[in-house]
Protein backbone atom coordinates (compact mmCIF):
# COMPACT_ATOMS: atom_id res chain seq x y z
CA UNK A 1 0.00 0.00 0.00
CA UNK A 2 1.42 3.39 -1.02
CA UNK A 3 1.10 6.68 0.86
CA UNK A 4 -1.27 7.98 -1.86
CA UNK A 5 -3.50 4.93 -1.58
CA UNK A 6 -3.51 5.32 2.16
CA UNK A 7 -4.16 9.06 2.35
CA UNK A 8 -7.93 8.87 1.83
CA UNK A 9 -8.35 6.02 4.31
CA UNK A 10 -6.21 7.47 7.05
CA UNK A 11 -9.03 9.53 8.66
CA UNK A 12 -11.21 6.43 8.96
CA UNK A 13 -8.31 4.47 10.44
CA UNK A 14 -7.52 7.23 12.93
CA UNK A 15 -11.19 7.36 13.95
CA UNK A 16 -11.43 3.59 14.33
CA UNK A 17 -14.02 3.24 11.55
CA UNK A 18 -12.23 0.58 9.49
CA UNK A 19 -12.82 -3.14 9.75
CA UNK A 20 -10.12 -5.33 11.31
CA UNK A 21 -8.52 -6.46 8.06
CA UNK A 22 -8.28 -3.02 6.49
CA UNK A 23 -7.19 -1.47 9.76
CA UNK A 24 -4.33 -3.97 9.99
CA UNK A 25 -3.19 -3.06 6.46
CA UNK A 26 -3.12 0.64 7.29
CA UNK A 27 -1.39 0.01 10.62
CA UNK A 28 1.31 -2.03 8.88
CA UNK A 29 2.06 0.89 6.55
CA UNK A 30 1.92 3.51 9.28
CA UNK A 31 4.41 1.48 11.34
CA UNK A 32 7.09 1.91 8.67
CA UNK A 33 6.19 5.36 7.23
CA UNK A 34 7.06 8.39 9.33
CA UNK A 35 5.02 10.79 7.20
CA UNK A 36 1.80 8.74 7.34
CA UNK A 37 2.42 8.06 11.02
CA UNK A 38 2.65 11.80 11.74
CA UNK A 39 -0.48 12.48 9.71
CA UNK A 40 -2.30 9.65 11.47
CA UNK A 41 -1.41 11.20 14.83
CA UNK A 42 -2.84 14.57 13.78
CA UNK A 43 -6.04 12.96 12.51
CA UNK A 44 -6.36 10.86 15.65
CA UNK A 45 -5.93 13.94 17.80
CA UNK A 46 -8.58 15.82 15.82
CA UNK A 47 -11.06 12.99 16.16
CA UNK A 48 -10.34 12.51 19.86
CA UNK A 49 -11.02 16.19 20.53
CA UNK A 50 -14.22 16.50 18.49
CA UNK A 51 -16.86 18.37 20.48
CA UNK A 52 -20.12 16.70 21.45
CA UNK A 53 -23.51 18.38 21.51
CA UNK A 54 -24.27 20.10 24.82
CA UNK A 55 -26.37 18.16 27.31
CA UNK A 56 -30.08 18.69 26.79
CA UNK A 57 -29.90 19.77 23.15
CA UNK A 58 -31.45 16.57 21.77
CA UNK A 59 -34.31 16.71 24.27
CA UNK A 60 -35.11 20.30 23.38
CA UNK A 61 -35.06 19.64 19.66
CA UNK A 62 -37.10 16.43 19.95
CA UNK A 63 -39.71 18.19 22.09
CA UNK A 64 -40.19 20.93 19.50
CA UNK A 65 -40.15 18.41 16.65
CA UNK A 66 -42.88 16.33 18.31
CA UNK A 67 -44.93 19.44 19.05
CA UNK A 68 -44.60 20.53 15.42
CA UNK A 69 -45.55 17.09 14.14
CA UNK A 70 -48.69 16.93 16.22
CA UNK A 71 -49.33 20.64 16.64
CA UNK A 72 -50.45 19.89 20.20
CA UNK A 73 -48.10 21.50 22.69
CA UNK A 74 -47.47 19.66 25.90
CA UNK A 75 -48.95 21.54 28.85
CA UNK A 76 -46.43 23.29 31.04
CA UNK A 77 -43.48 22.67 28.78
CA UNK A 78 -41.35 25.21 27.06
CA UNK A 79 -41.83 24.24 23.42
CA UNK A 80 -38.79 26.09 22.25
CA UNK A 81 -35.99 27.91 23.99
CA UNK A 82 -36.27 30.53 21.28
CA UNK A 83 -39.65 31.74 20.12
CA UNK A 84 -39.91 31.13 16.36
CA UNK A 85 -39.67 34.34 14.39
CA UNK A 86 -42.98 33.72 12.59
CA UNK A 87 -44.89 33.92 15.88
CA UNK A 88 -43.55 37.37 16.58
CA UNK A 89 -44.15 38.44 12.99
CA UNK A 90 -47.73 37.16 12.98
CA UNK A 91 -48.46 38.79 16.32
CA UNK A 92 -46.94 42.06 15.18
CA UNK A 93 -48.97 42.02 11.94
CA UNK A 94 -52.14 41.25 13.87
CA UNK A 95 -51.57 44.01 16.40
CA UNK A 96 -50.73 46.45 13.61
CA UNK A 97 -53.84 45.42 11.69
CA UNK A 98 -56.02 45.95 14.74
CA UNK A 99 -54.48 49.33 15.40
CA UNK A 100 -54.82 50.51 11.81
CA UNK A 101 -58.44 49.40 11.58
CA UNK A 102 -59.39 51.12 14.81
CA UNK A 103 -57.80 54.35 13.66
CA UNK A 104 -59.73 54.31 10.40
CA UNK A 105 -63.08 53.07 11.67
CA UNK A 106 -65.01 53.40 14.88
CA UNK A 107 -67.91 50.96 14.68
CA UNK A 108 -69.17 48.93 17.58
CA UNK A 109 -68.13 45.71 15.91
CA UNK A 110 -64.82 45.81 14.14
CA UNK A 111 -63.76 43.39 11.44
CA UNK A 112 -60.04 42.99 11.17
CA UNK A 113 -58.66 41.45 8.04
CA UNK A 114 -55.11 40.30 8.44
CA UNK A 115 -52.86 37.62 7.09
CA UNK A 116 -54.35 35.32 9.67
CA UNK A 117 -57.85 35.76 8.24
CA UNK A 118 -60.93 37.71 9.20
CA UNK A 119 -61.04 38.39 12.93
CA UNK A 120 -64.17 40.06 14.29
CA UNK A 121 -63.50 42.00 17.48
CA UNK A 122 -65.70 43.94 19.85
CA UNK A 123 -64.49 47.41 20.56
CA UNK A 124 -64.05 46.54 24.22
CA UNK A 125 -61.49 43.95 23.24
CA UNK A 126 -59.23 46.46 21.53
CA UNK A 127 -56.56 48.17 23.59
CA UNK A 128 -57.26 51.87 23.57
CA UNK A 129 -55.27 54.36 25.58
CA UNK A 130 -56.88 56.89 27.92
CA UNK A 131 -56.59 59.67 25.36
CA UNK A 132 -58.59 57.64 22.87
CA UNK A 133 -55.66 56.77 20.68
CA UNK A 134 -54.85 53.18 19.95
CA UNK A 135 -52.13 51.97 22.21
CA UNK A 136 -48.81 51.20 20.59
CA UNK A 137 -47.76 47.66 19.93
CA UNK A 138 -46.58 45.94 23.06
CA UNK A 139 -42.95 44.94 23.36
CA UNK A 140 -43.37 41.35 22.26
CA UNK A 141 -39.79 40.37 22.96
CA UNK A 142 -40.41 40.65 26.66
CA UNK A 143 -43.59 38.58 26.66
CA UNK A 144 -43.45 35.07 28.08
CA UNK A 145 -44.83 32.19 26.00
CA UNK A 146 -47.91 32.17 28.18
CA UNK A 147 -48.48 35.92 27.84
CA UNK A 148 -48.05 35.73 24.07
CA UNK A 149 -50.47 32.81 23.86
CA UNK A 150 -53.00 34.77 25.94
CA UNK A 151 -52.60 37.83 23.72
CA UNK A 152 -53.08 35.82 20.54
CA UNK A 153 -56.05 34.02 22.09
CA UNK A 154 -57.69 37.29 23.13
CA UNK A 155 -57.15 38.84 19.75
CA UNK A 156 -58.48 35.77 18.05
CA UNK A 157 -61.75 35.44 19.98
Amino acid sequence: MTCEELADRLPDWAAGRLGDAESALVAAHVAVCDDCSAQGSVLGALFAARPEAPVGLAERIARVACAQAHAVPEAGTNRSWRRPAWVLSAAAVLVLAVGTTVLLRAPQMIEVVSVLGEVPLEESQVWIADDGAVAGAPVLDDLSDEALATLLEELGE
Binding site: P11, Q39, S41, P54, I61, A62
Partner: protein, 186 residues
Amino acid sequence: MKPSDAGEAAFSESELLSGAREGNPEALEELVALHQSSAFRVALGILGGEADAKDAAQDGILRALKGLAGFRGDASFRTWLLAIVANEARSMLRRTARRREAPRDDDFAADSLTGGVAEGVVLRAEVARVRALLARLPEKQRLAVQLRVDEGLSFREVGDVIGSSEGAARVNYHHGIRRLREWLKE
Protein backbone atom coordinates in the same frame (compact mmCIF):
# COMPACT_ATOMS: atom_id res chain seq x y z
CA MET B 1 -24.90 4.42 8.27
CA LYS B 2 -22.96 4.08 11.46
CA PRO B 3 -24.69 5.85 14.32
CA SER B 4 -22.26 8.14 16.02
CA ASP B 5 -24.14 9.35 19.07
CA ALA B 6 -26.59 6.82 20.30
CA GLY B 7 -24.86 3.49 19.76
CA GLU B 8 -26.37 0.92 17.40
CA ALA B 9 -29.73 2.03 16.09
CA ALA B 10 -32.70 -0.14 16.92
CA PHE B 11 -34.34 0.76 13.61
CA SER B 12 -33.03 1.19 10.12
CA GLU B 13 -32.74 4.71 8.73
CA SER B 14 -35.62 4.17 6.33
CA GLU B 15 -37.81 2.95 9.21
CA LEU B 16 -36.88 6.00 11.25
CA LEU B 17 -37.57 8.36 8.36
CA SER B 18 -40.87 6.69 7.64
CA GLY B 19 -41.83 6.96 11.32
CA ALA B 20 -40.72 10.59 11.47
CA ARG B 21 -42.84 11.46 8.42
CA GLU B 22 -45.84 10.07 10.29
CA GLY B 23 -44.94 12.11 13.37
CA ASN B 24 -43.96 9.10 15.46
CA PRO B 25 -42.34 10.61 18.59
CA GLU B 26 -39.89 7.71 19.08
CA ALA B 27 -38.66 7.96 15.51
CA LEU B 28 -38.29 11.73 15.81
CA GLU B 29 -36.41 11.42 19.09
CA GLU B 30 -34.07 8.76 17.73
CA LEU B 31 -33.32 10.70 14.56
CA VAL B 32 -32.52 13.79 16.61
CA ALA B 33 -30.35 11.80 19.05
CA LEU B 34 -28.45 10.19 16.18
CA HIS B 35 -27.61 13.40 14.38
CA GLN B 36 -27.53 16.16 16.98
CA SER B 37 -23.79 16.07 17.65
CA SER B 38 -22.89 16.07 13.95
CA ALA B 39 -25.29 18.98 13.41
CA PHE B 40 -23.85 20.84 16.37
CA ARG B 41 -20.26 20.33 15.20
CA VAL B 42 -21.02 21.56 11.67
CA ALA B 43 -22.78 24.64 13.05
CA LEU B 44 -19.93 25.23 15.49
CA GLY B 45 -17.42 24.96 12.66
CA ILE B 46 -19.20 27.76 10.81
CA LEU B 47 -20.27 30.01 13.67
CA GLY B 48 -17.52 29.42 16.21
CA GLY B 49 -19.65 30.05 19.30
CA GLU B 50 -21.53 27.37 21.23
CA ALA B 51 -24.74 29.33 21.85
CA ASP B 52 -25.20 30.20 18.17
CA ALA B 53 -24.22 26.68 17.15
CA LYS B 54 -26.96 25.24 19.37
CA ASP B 55 -29.55 27.53 17.81
CA ALA B 56 -28.42 26.77 14.26
CA ALA B 57 -28.33 23.03 14.94
CA GLN B 58 -31.83 23.17 16.39
CA ASP B 59 -33.24 25.29 13.56
CA GLY B 60 -31.53 23.17 10.91
CA ILE B 61 -32.75 19.86 12.32
CA LEU B 62 -36.29 21.17 12.74
CA ARG B 63 -36.26 22.53 9.19
CA ALA B 64 -35.07 19.18 7.88
CA LEU B 65 -37.70 17.22 9.82
CA LYS B 66 -40.41 19.60 8.64
CA GLY B 67 -39.27 19.16 5.05
CA LEU B 68 -38.84 15.39 5.13
CA ALA B 69 -41.33 15.07 2.28
CA GLY B 70 -38.77 16.84 0.11
CA PHE B 71 -36.00 14.36 0.95
CA ARG B 72 -35.62 12.26 -2.18
CA GLY B 73 -32.94 9.94 -0.88
CA ASP B 74 -30.37 10.94 -3.53
CA ALA B 75 -27.91 11.52 -0.70
CA SER B 76 -27.89 9.93 2.74
CA PHE B 77 -30.20 11.56 5.26
CA ARG B 78 -27.21 12.67 7.32
CA THR B 79 -25.55 14.43 4.38
CA TRP B 80 -28.84 16.10 3.46
CA LEU B 81 -29.41 17.16 7.07
CA LEU B 82 -25.88 18.51 7.51
CA ALA B 83 -26.21 20.56 4.32
CA ILE B 84 -29.38 22.12 5.74
CA VAL B 85 -27.68 22.82 9.08
CA ALA B 86 -24.70 24.37 7.28
CA ASN B 87 -27.05 26.65 5.32
CA GLU B 88 -28.84 27.58 8.52
CA ALA B 89 -25.54 28.45 10.19
CA ARG B 90 -24.38 30.53 7.23
CA SER B 91 -27.72 32.36 7.17
CA MET B 92 -27.36 33.08 10.87
CA LEU B 93 -23.88 34.44 10.26
CA ARG B 94 -25.26 36.74 7.54
CA ARG B 95 -28.32 37.78 9.58
CA THR B 96 -26.30 38.75 12.57
CA ALA B 97 -23.79 40.43 10.25
CA ARG B 98 -20.88 39.65 12.44
CA ARG B 99 -17.67 37.80 12.12
CA ARG B 100 -17.28 34.22 13.13
CA GLU B 101 -16.54 33.98 16.82
CA ALA B 102 -12.94 33.12 17.47
CA PRO B 103 -12.87 30.05 19.69
CA ARG B 104 -11.25 30.42 23.04
CA ASP B 105 -8.35 28.14 23.80
CA ASP B 106 -10.31 26.52 26.62
CA ASP B 107 -13.17 25.66 24.21
CA PHE B 108 -11.19 22.56 23.46
CA ALA B 109 -10.07 21.74 26.95
CA ALA B 110 -8.35 18.41 27.27
CA ASP B 111 -10.86 17.42 29.98
CA SER B 112 -13.66 17.22 27.42
CA LEU B 113 -11.91 14.82 25.06
CA THR B 114 -14.02 11.94 23.88
CA GLY B 115 -11.37 9.31 23.27
CA GLY B 116 -10.05 7.63 20.11
CA VAL B 117 -7.08 5.69 18.82
CA ALA B 118 -4.70 8.58 19.43
CA GLU B 119 -5.39 8.54 23.15
CA GLY B 120 -2.25 7.55 24.96
CA VAL B 121 -0.17 8.29 21.87
CA VAL B 122 -0.53 12.05 21.64
CA LEU B 123 -0.32 14.19 24.75
CA ARG B 124 -3.70 15.51 25.81
CA ALA B 125 -2.57 19.13 25.65
CA GLU B 126 -1.41 18.58 22.10
CA VAL B 127 -4.73 17.01 21.22
CA ALA B 128 -6.52 20.13 22.42
CA ARG B 129 -4.10 22.32 20.48
CA VAL B 130 -4.82 20.54 17.20
CA ARG B 131 -8.51 21.31 17.57
CA ALA B 132 -7.83 24.94 18.35
CA LEU B 133 -5.66 25.18 15.23
CA LEU B 134 -8.44 23.61 13.14
CA ALA B 135 -10.65 26.54 14.06
CA ARG B 136 -8.19 28.88 12.36
CA LEU B 137 -8.39 27.26 8.94
CA PRO B 138 -10.45 28.94 6.17
CA GLU B 139 -14.09 27.78 6.29
CA LYS B 140 -14.05 25.31 3.40
CA GLN B 141 -10.81 23.68 4.53
CA ARG B 142 -12.03 23.56 8.11
CA LEU B 143 -15.36 22.00 7.17
CA ALA B 144 -13.77 19.55 4.74
CA VAL B 145 -11.42 18.31 7.48
CA GLN B 146 -14.18 18.24 10.08
CA LEU B 147 -16.67 16.39 7.88
CA ARG B 148 -14.09 13.85 6.70
CA VAL B 149 -12.51 13.20 10.11
CA ASP B 150 -15.29 13.77 12.65
CA GLU B 151 -18.24 12.53 10.62
CA GLY B 152 -16.56 10.05 8.29
CA LEU B 153 -18.25 11.48 5.18
CA SER B 154 -16.87 10.57 1.76
CA PHE B 155 -15.38 13.40 -0.29
CA ARG B 156 -18.48 13.39 -2.48
CA GLU B 157 -20.64 13.85 0.63
CA VAL B 158 -18.29 16.52 1.97
CA GLY B 159 -18.72 18.35 -1.34
CA ASP B 160 -22.50 18.09 -1.05
CA VAL B 161 -22.41 19.77 2.36
CA ILE B 162 -19.91 22.52 1.62
CA GLY B 163 -21.26 23.17 -1.86
CA SER B 164 -18.34 22.05 -3.98
CA SER B 165 -17.33 19.21 -6.26
CA GLU B 166 -15.88 15.98 -4.90
CA GLY B 167 -12.47 16.99 -6.23
CA ALA B 168 -12.59 20.41 -4.60
CA ALA B 169 -13.62 18.82 -1.30
CA ARG B 170 -10.62 16.50 -1.49
CA VAL B 171 -8.26 19.39 -2.26
CA ASN B 172 -9.68 21.47 0.59
CA TYR B 173 -9.23 18.54 2.96
CA HIS B 174 -5.61 17.89 1.98
CA HIS B 175 -4.70 21.60 2.07
CA GLY B 176 -6.26 21.86 5.51
CA ILE B 177 -4.37 18.86 6.86
CA ARG B 178 -1.09 20.08 5.36
CA ARG B 179 -1.54 23.49 6.93
CA LEU B 180 -2.39 21.98 10.31
CA ARG B 181 0.77 19.90 10.22
CA GLU B 182 2.83 22.96 9.34
CA TRP B 183 1.35 24.93 12.23
CA LEU B 184 1.97 22.07 14.62
CA LYS B 185 5.66 22.11 13.72
CA GLU B 186 5.98 25.83 14.58
